[in-house]
């Protein structure tokens, strides 16, 4: 049985936030007397993550995804509840815990701006007490996987965003962490750079069995990497389970475009009891429930003279949009 590497029980976090009214009067009032409100940004959440899993945290901006990641890696002290990551309470930030994890943030970087990434990588290797020989070996392996080589010797300020992110990952993974916390790692990258990064993360997970917890607003990241997702809505977990199941739940109907050999055929099909969305000459679009899609298609193909057919999946972005808006999915 695969053991849990992360366990979170009844976790909550509140922040004191000062708000101010618009205009000069509001500014002056804010300067002399601040109205501090305590806002509960994470509300009593529970989940477990198994070793080697890739988990996607989904949610709208400000839903609490990054706060959860930061509590998991020990940057933010939880207000209530318990967290165990690799057997440690993260906030104590013990050396052995820190050697097991890494954090990569798409919008912040740790590479030294004026020097080639290789210098930052060697600096990290000395912090993690990795000897020169071992460091070289790991750099060779990771740069092969990430498909970077020459870029490691060019000052960071002259690299493209995609090259910088690859180098950032190399610097962050030099100590072979068991758990990766990735906060929007593909932010701002072009389509090819995003795809390369996803390919790398998948290969890294398969090769090292590292656990990956990631947030992303690019749905392709989630659908191609994460089998399981945790949806966060206003600080609470609205869904925790398989991505497939969620997608099926949110789109129970598929649209099937059928091109019949003749219009007569299409008319017969239209009157056969299926729900018709539209019909143009010999082309007919049917709405068929996911649960009966195989049997329905079998019947159609056997009974009618069909030239071609297309099954249209609803766009994932549209479904995810629903996830971000809705509150509860477990019912």
């Amino acid at each position: 049985m695969i053991k849990n590497i992360i366990e979170v029980k009844n976790l909550s976090k509140s922040f004191d936030i000062s708000s101010r009214k618009q205009g000069l009067k509001g500014t002056l009032k804010h300067f002399f007397k601040r109205e501090i409100k305590s806002i509960k940004v994470i509300k009593n959440i529970n989940f477990e993550i198994k070793e080697g899993e890739i988990i996607g945290f989904l949610g709208a901006n400000g839903a609490g995804k990054t706060t959860i990641l930061k509590m998991l890696c020990g940057l933010i002290y939880p207000s209530e509840g318990t967290i165990s990551v690799s057997g440690y309470f993260p906030f104590r930030r013990k050396d052995n815990f820190l050697k097991n994890i890494t954090l990569v943030m798409g919008q912040k970087q740790q590479l030294i701006w004026d020097l080639p990434p290789i210098e930052s990588v060697y600096l990290n290797s000395s912090i993690y007490e990795i000897n020169q020989f071992e460091a070289e070996k790991r750099i060779r392996k990771l740069s092969d996987m990430l498909e970077i080589e020459d870029e490691l010797y060019i000052p960071v300020r002259k690299l493209s965003l995609g090259q910088r992110m690859k180098s950032e990952l190399l610097a962050a993974l030099i100590h072979n962490p068991k758990i990766l916390f990735l906060d929007e790692p593909t932010l701002g990258l072009d389509i090819n750079a995003q795809r390369n990064l996803r390919k790398f993360l998948k290969a890294y997970n398969e090769e090292t069995n590292a656990t990956i917890c990631m947030t992303s607003h690019y749905m392709k990241d989630i659908t191609s990497l994460c089998k399981r997702v945790i949806c966060v809505h206003n600080g609470s977990i609205s869904y925790d389970g398989k991505l497939d199941k969620l997608l099926k739940k949110l789109s129970p109907i598929k649209e099937v475009l059928i091109i019949c050999r003749s219009e007569k055929n299409a008319n017969e099909l239209m009157n056969s009891g299926f729900t018709v969305k539209q019909k143009i000459k010999n082309e007919i679009t049917l709405k068929i429930e996911n649960s009966s899609i195989t049997t329905s298609l079998k019947t159609i193909l056997n009974k009618y003279d069909i030239e071609d057919l297309y099954i249209n999946e609803p766009p994932v972005d549209e479904i995810i949009g629903k996830i971000l808006r809705k509150k509860e999915y477990n019912d």
Partner: protein
């Protein structure tokens, strides 16, 4: 704490920081010229004070030059290490890059205090040492081992006091987010350290000894140089340095509990 690991990491800090600075050659040259002019200006200012008098708070010009020498060394250390690192704390906290520091298996105070260096400050340290050697000659000071040890201890304590003061102020950024002004005030107060403590009025002497112990950091090491320091003053400086170092450490660890990281 593994000393060998910290030594290794520091050599990497030193090298990477030096390499970063050397990327901008003109900046280094301007900094070096500024360091030269700053020392010349300071000595010129001191000589103006002594134009109509031979005595400033009981110190003659040759003796006051010792204070100038120690001030130059401390200013050099400030420019080499404190300024590039401790002013960066504000950015670390505002931009949330402190996250990366806290997640490394290394002492965070060590990391943020020593990560960078500004090589032009090293020239100031060399100037300060040369000025002190010159002062030893013109003041006919005899050198022996105990003299050297005492000088090093008091200058070391001065560095600790200055560092701790600056670090304490920078740490408050965790609550107040912007504290550049406070560190600027501290830098301005440091200029006061160029003059003997006795040249100030009694109330200012008390202020600069108790509330902001700037006066300690140059006057006491200078008195040691002239072999006129009373032993209680040296002990007091050591005690103050230890209290400041300890307090800055405790305060940093305490403040980290309140660090909430910048939002993404």
């Amino acid at each position: 704490m593994k000393l060998s690991k910290y030594f290794k990491v520091y050599t990497k800090f030193f090298y990477t920081s030096l390499a970063s600075e050397l990327e901008y050659k003109t900046n280094i040259i301007i900094d070096l010229i500024t360091a030269n002019l700053s020392l010349i200006g300071s000595i010129f200012l001191l000589s103006i004070f002594f134009q109509n008098t031979t005595d400033l708070g009981g110190w003659n010009f040759e003796q006051a030059l010792i204070i100038q020498g120690i001030y130059t060394i401390l200013n050099g250390i400030t420019n080499t290490w404190f300024n590039p690192n401790l002013t960066e704390i504000v950015n670390h906290i505002r931009e949330g890059t402190l996250d990366f520091v806290l997640l490394k298996p290394i002492d965070s105070q060590f990391y943020i205090s020593l990560k960078k260096i500004n090589p032009s400050g090293i020239l100031e340290i060399i100037f300060g040492i040369l000025l002190l050697i010159y002062c030893i000659k013109i003041n006919e000071i005899s050198i022996n081992i105990s003299f050297l040890i005492l000088c090093l201890i008091t200058i070391g304590c001065s560095i600790c006091i200055l560092y701790s003061l600056w670090f304490l102020i920078s740490t408050t950024t965790i609550w107040f987010v912007k504290t550049w002004n406070a560190t600027e005030v501290l830098r301005s107060f440091l200029y006061i350290g160029r003059f003997p403590l006795n040249s100030f009025s009694f109330s200012l002497r008390i202020f600069f000894s108790i509330f902001i112990p700037i006066a300690f950091i140059t006057t006491i090491p200078s008195e040691v140089f002239l072999s006129i320091a009373q032993i209680w003053k040296i002990i007091l400086e050591i005690v103050i340095a230890l209290i400041f170092l300890f307090s800055s450490r405790r305060f940093w660890l305490f403040a980290l509990k309140y660090y909430s990281s910048a939002s993404s």
